[in-house]
Amino acid sequence: MRIKVIIPNASKEFLATQIDERQAAAGPGVEVTTICLEDGPVSLESGVDDALVAVPLMIEARKAQDEGYDAIVIDCAADPSVRAVREYVDIPVTSAGEAAFQYVLGLADTFSVVTVLENTARLIEDRLRTYGLMSRVASVRFADVPVLDLEDLSLACERILAQAREAIDHDGADAIVLGCTGMSPVTKHLQENLEVPVVDPAVAALTLAESLVRMGVSHSKKSYLTPPQKKVEGSMYAGWKY
């Protein structure tokens, strides 16, 4: 089984810090290739960032399908452009936020998400509303650490743990979902210091993608219909085709 993990930002430095983690999370007989985008912002923290990555993300997804990959992972807990990507390809597509929510719902009655910035928290709330899952959400909190600063591990651990603690003690969370795939190194620290399950969204998305391939299922073309073809003007879109 071959899975393409696409980090929807254009930071080669960030990619370098994530590749080994994704490889380590791969299941038996699974070959994982992790890439980032050639075009786009260096991190994804807002709705504007999401809009900017949409076209390059779709192009990479279609490329992965054409290259014979069995599934695609959108490696971002803000679930950017997932609907568009699912319209654009037929092979299974998982996304880190959604996958983490799917797994956490089988572990606890309520959960909180701890993400990077307030902007991202609003974005994730919007997703949860769309998914119809708000009744199971205790809160969406943010550590106030930009994605590219998560490398400062002690700062990240301290801030994220503090938010998780508040979520459990004050918001009624019975489980924690990390709200950024760049937070993987923090998972262990949280698990050691909290008495509740802590879900790593990057691992969740990869594991779910493997399960979908093993089940022989992919998303419904009744939901994610093939888009109508049409003319697109402008040199910015020279590389685009429906």
Partner: protein, 252 residues
């Protein structure tokens, strides 16, 4: 890794018809044991069945943990025993209905559950309400085939497809979730026929169990508190065969 799948009924024939399917899902990646109960009803289709089988399935959950399994799967799309077993054990426990609904969330906007007989639709609606997923459900329909009748796979496929088509055409369903683990043998065939994702709940539950073990995750004690210990009177419970394991906790 070793996982135990427990079909919470006492039908040997049903077990034999399902075991090969579960082994295929495991694909040799881990040790898999598939068993059914030696005490209880021969199939589960009602709330009475659920109440009757309660102690027997709970006992199996306790045994699975005591015998060193990494996870236990309740192979039943009414999630019978899930709450009680999660309170009592610490290993991950998955169940067919819950797992199948969670997988469905990432495959389409709305899903329909196709269960076996009409009374079961009520129990499934209750589950969906409890899980807070009603916004994503198009409908719950039934194939009108009792659980043990599903072993006639051609008849089962025909009946399930009929109900599924109504769900897809009239209820705005995008995804079909099979509402009985006994439907597993016809899942792929139905998917080819219907041209939408068809979720085998038994496979979903087994893969979710494997996933939790690999990710080092288990259920939250804040949601599933350990049950307070207490005296349990009556010879009925001695016959559960727990020998020192205890319904509430280990016994000397």
């Amino acid at each position: 890794m070793k996982i135990r799948v427990v079909i919470p009924n006492t039908s040997q024939a049903f077990l034999e018809s399902q075991r090969p399917e579960r082994q295929l899902v495991a694909g040799g990646r881990f040790d898999l044991e598939v068993i059914c109960l030696d005490q209880g009803p021969e199939s589960l289709e009602s709330a009475v069945d659920e109440a009757v089988v309660g102690p027997a399935i709970l006992a199996e959950g306790i045994r699975a943990e005591a015998q060193g399994f990494d996870a236990m799967v309740i192979d039943c799309a009414m999630d019978i025993g899930l709450e009680s077993i999660r309170e009592r054990v610490s290993i991950p426990v998955t169940s067919a209905a819950q797992a199948s609904y969670l997988v469905a969330l990432g495959l389409g906007d709305r899903f329909s559950v196709i269960t076996m007989i009409e009374p079961a639709t009520r129990l499934i609606h209750n589950l969906l309400r409890r899980y807070g997923l009603t916004q994503r459900v198009a409908s719950v329909r039934f194939a009108d085939v009792p659980v043990l009748g599903l072993m006639d796979t051609d008849a089962a496929a025909k009946a399930i497809a009929k109900a599924s088509r109504i769900a897809l055409d009239s209820d705005s369903a995008d995804v079909i979730v099979l509402g009985c683990t006994g439907m597993a043998p016809v899942a792929r065939r139905l998917q080819r026929e219907l041209q939408v994702p068809v979720i085998d709940p038994a496979a979903a539950a087994l893969l979710m169990a494997e996933s939790y073990v690999r990710m080092g995750l288990t259920h939250s004690r804040r949601s599933y508190h350990r049950p307070p210990d207490k005296k349990l009177n009556g010879s009925m419970y001695q016959a559960a065969g727990l020998e020192g394991l205890g319904f509430y906790g280990p016994r000397q």
